[in-house]
């Protein structure tokens, strides 16, 4: 589009402004002056940063410049981190009154708030997401998450109904992805500390820097050494954490294929596991939906955070009668999205997180074209350096197309149509994933019946991509198990009584009954659970 003009008045489109390239936005850069980075950082173990033998660069995906170098952990590093976490757990953290643990967690939340601007800028520099999102969404949610779980630390006996005090598990190995680096760290660390566990965390290798700043906050907050330890590196470091004998629980957020490997790796180990994996979320637009709001919801669903969102609404299912209108409006809307430098306050779509991810997106988009789907991309100028991909959608997509089945994890939407609510449900559920979906309709009864029929852990009705520390998040089917957020987020970090009972006497092996029938209403104390008896 090169003209600023009013679109012709037709029966089904209202007058609207077309935004042409005659309207230039002045740059509105967020200053990065107050971000202080050292040249290199090592692992954070036992409350101190440690030198490493080998370092790798963490680059800005928008400029490809190195921001800092980060120490690559070895098996020995992981071992030291787990030992530090074990010592901290055994020596005091597990026995510290909840109200005391709460104070540390509150303090961490408070300090994140104080430094929120620095965190937001660094998150955008290291990961490529628009400053608007890191400033208004990621970092406020991080602080809120610590505040939320700080409040739980001394209320655990009210959190899980039933007799017996829930017990922490021990040392938690936590592996997080690069799409919401600090937010995922908060989702993992806050509930683990609130429940009395200690942590070895591995951030993704492309986005380690905000977790390092978080470690500095933990030092300043006086968190006892070893309660949180942070090691860096790629999948091999994650595997070393998963395999370490002294880890009691593994929490992983990332791709479904790696999640399956971890589940397999843990077979027979008796370690507890929670998985938050991939998704291929449906965003279902009914003909009675508020269409303009729905179009905003489509944009929030798939172009938020460059589409690097496990719960993205990457499959648009639109009712046939309104499909033309929705697609037309979507086309207009995405032509106004601004792709550009993450630190520009006007940017809607920032940089793709890494070269590797950009190549994956390009490959799948090529597949989409080859399989016969119709691609639409607005014209937009992309910077010369860095990793960029314009907002994209495909029409003429069938359910068997790879772009309709595989998680692309980029700003790429596939559009299909449906006729009846039953067909919408059938299509939405026709995937191995089950993380999140959106439903757009002004009819409440329909919205709730569809919500009930969808096999998803999160349903957004007339909204999309909303998160809150009080709201449980997690998947059905191959999108994983366990919940993060709210009271449900505590259970994966605790042993409740019935999970920890052990046979009071060794059952005989021949199947014959015990000779001493016990009192069927025993009121004796529950057996003392150990950390590893899941």
């Amino acid at each position: 589009m090169s003209e600023i003009e009013a679109a012709p008045d037709t029966a089904d489109t209202a007058r609207e402004l077309l935004f042409g390239d005659r309207w230039e936005y002045a740059p509105a850069p967020q200053s990065a002056d107050h971000v202080r980075l050292a040249d290199r950082y090592g692992a954070f173990i036992g409350g101190e940063f440690h030198e490493a033998d080998d370092y790798f660069p963490s680059i800005s995906p928008a400029t490809e410049e190195t921001l800092a170098e980060v120490g690559r952990a070895t098996e020995a590093t992981v071992d030291r981190a787990v030992n530090a976490a074990r010592r901290a757990y055994d020596s005091h953290w597990r026995d510290l009154p909840g109200s005391e643990r709460a104070k540390y967690i509150f303090r961490i939340g408070r300090m994140i708030k104080e430094k929120s601007r620095e965190f937001a800028v660094l998150e955008s520099m290291d990961g490529g997401k628009p400053i608007r999102e890191s400033r208004d969404m990621d970092i406020p949610l991080v602080a809120a998450h610590f505040f939320h779980y700080a409040g739980w630390a001394d209320k655990l006996e009210y959190a899980l109904p039933g007799p017996g005090r829930p017990r922490p598990l021990g040392v938690c190995g936590q592996i997080i992805p690069w799409n919401f680096p600090l937010l995922m760290a908060a989702w993992k660390i806050a509930p683990a500390l609130a429940t009395g566990n200690t942590v070895v965390l591995k951030p993704a290798e492309t986005t380690p820097l905000t977790a390092i700043k978080l470690a500095e906050i933990m030092q300043e907050a006086g968190l006892p050494p070893g309660v949180v330890n942070i090691v860096h590196g790629a999948g091999d470091v994650g595997a070393a954490i998963v395999e370490h004998d002294d880890v009691d629980k593994v929490a992983f957020t990332g791709s479904t294929s790696v999640g399956k490997q971890i589940q397999k790796q843990l077979a027979g180990s008796k370690k507890r596991l929670t998985l938050e994996l991939g998704g291929k979320g449906a965003n279902i637009i009914f003909e009675d939906a508020p269409i303009d709001q729905a179009v905003e919801g489509i944009v929030d669903g798939i172009y938020f955070n460059q589409g690097h969102v496990c719960c993205a609404g990457s499959r648009l299912l639109v009712q046939e009668s309104v499909a033309d209108e929705v697609i037309q409006k979507l086309r207009h809307r995405i032509s106004t999205l601004r792709v550009g430098h993450p630190l520009d306050k006007n940017t809607d779509i920032g940089a793709i997180n890494s070269k590797q991810q950009l190549e994956k997106i390009r490959r799948l988009v090529d597949v989409g074209e080859k399989e016969g789907a119709e691609k639409y991309q607005p014209e937009c100028d992309l910077p010369d350096r860095g990793f960029w991909f314009p907002p994209t959608f495909f029409t003429d997509v069938t359910q068997s197309h790879r772009i309709a089945q595989e998680e692309i994890f980029g700003p790429v939407l596939s559009v299909t149509t449906f006729r009846t609510p039953d067909e919408a449900v059938e299509r939405a559920n026709n995937t191995e994933y089950g993380l999140a979906s959106g439903i757009w309709s002004d009819k409440g009864s329909k919205l709730f019946s569809i919500s009930k029929a969808l096999k998803n852990g999160v349903i957004w009705g007339n909204t999309f991509n909303k998160f809150d520390p009080a709201s449980p998040f997690g998947g059905y089917k191959e999108s994983g198990f366990g919940r993060e957020g709210g009271v449900h987020g505590l259970l994966p970090y605790l042993n409740v009584q019935s999970q920890s009972w052990q046979p009071k006497t060794t059952p005989s092996t021949n199947g014959s009954p015990s000779t001493k029938p016990g009192n069927s209403t025993s009121t004796g104390p529950s057996p003392e659970p150990k950390a590893d008896d899941t």
């Binding site: 919500s451 198990f481 009972w501 009954p513 015990s514 069927s520």
Partner: protein, 254 residues
């Protein structure tokens, strides 16, 4: 005494098909109705208590007193879980006080089709203690029985048949765990597995095979018959491993 079916891989697959067909309908029953049907199971067990007591004494080798005790608790346990049907979501579901203007709530839904290796001990009560918490929330279950009293599980199946529980919701297979575990773990249409008293080997096989479809796995130790009668052998935390929490958001406004 009798020739008992030694379930094969094919039997297990057929059972999963039956369970899958029945599950959605069962889950769509009202919680109250599912509770009524579990109460009815308890009543039917009560009405046959004489026959079950004789069987426990003659086949399993229980004394009279112990047989009566196991029956009492098995009936009580069915009633206990029956009562949870319309309370579980109230106790474990939440309305979430989010900071934005949204109505946000989380409710448990059944995971789907569950396979359960039931205890070797307490052939009646152990089976009931595994089945009831799985089906009351709306799952369908395939029970795998490998103990010295397999005829008893078939008598339980008869009780189920007369209790209005829809066909396919509870399926009972007798056979050898060692022969079935690989197929159970690797079956892609099994959503969750409960294994009571798994050997280290069985646990490894189930977890390895189950990982390919992110199967939910829950392991509990076996207990003696006397311990199965204890109150701490029943808990809503026998239900939580077989539900998924669904969180729904909707804007609040005018």
């Amino acid at each position: 005494m009798a020739n008992i079916c030694r379930a094969s891989r094919k039997d297990f697959r057929d059972a999963v098909v039956a369970a899958r067909e029945a599950q959605e309908g069962w889950a769509s029953r009202s919680a109250f109705n599912r509770g009524q049907i579990l109460y009815r199971m308890g009543e039917m067990l009560e009405s046959r208590r004489q026959a079950f007591a004789e069987e426990l004494i003659e086949v399993v080798g229980y004394g009279r007193e112990e047989a009566e005790a196991e029956l009492d608790v098995a009936i009580d346990r069915l009633l206990w879980y029956a009562g949870w049907s319309d309370k579980f979501a109230q106790v474990f579901g939440t309305v979430n006080p989010v900071a934005t203007s949204h109505f946000d709530f989380s409710v448990p839904e059944p995971t789907g089709v569950v396979a359960a290796f039931v205890p070797e001990h307490a052939p009646l009560l152990g089976l009931v203690s595994c089945m009831a918490p799985i089906v009351v929330t709306g799952n369908a279950v395939v029970l795998i029985v490998d103990n010295d009293a397999p005829t008893l599980s078939l008598d339980v199946a008869e009780v189920l048949e007369t209790s209005d529980v829809p066909g396919g919701v509870v399926n009972v297979l007798t056979g050898h765990r060692t022969e079935l575990r690989e197929h159970v773990g690797g079956h892609r249409d099994v959503d969750a597995i409960l294994s009571v008293g798994a050997s280290a080997e069985e646990r490894t096989v189930l977890e390895t095979e189950g990982a390919d479809s992110v199967t939910r796995l829950e392991f509990r130790p076996d207990r003696t018959a006397a311990e199965w009668r204890l109150e701490d052998s029943q808990s809503p935390y026998w239900m939580t491993p077989f539900v998924e929490f669904k969180t729904t958001w909707h804007p609040v406004g005018r």
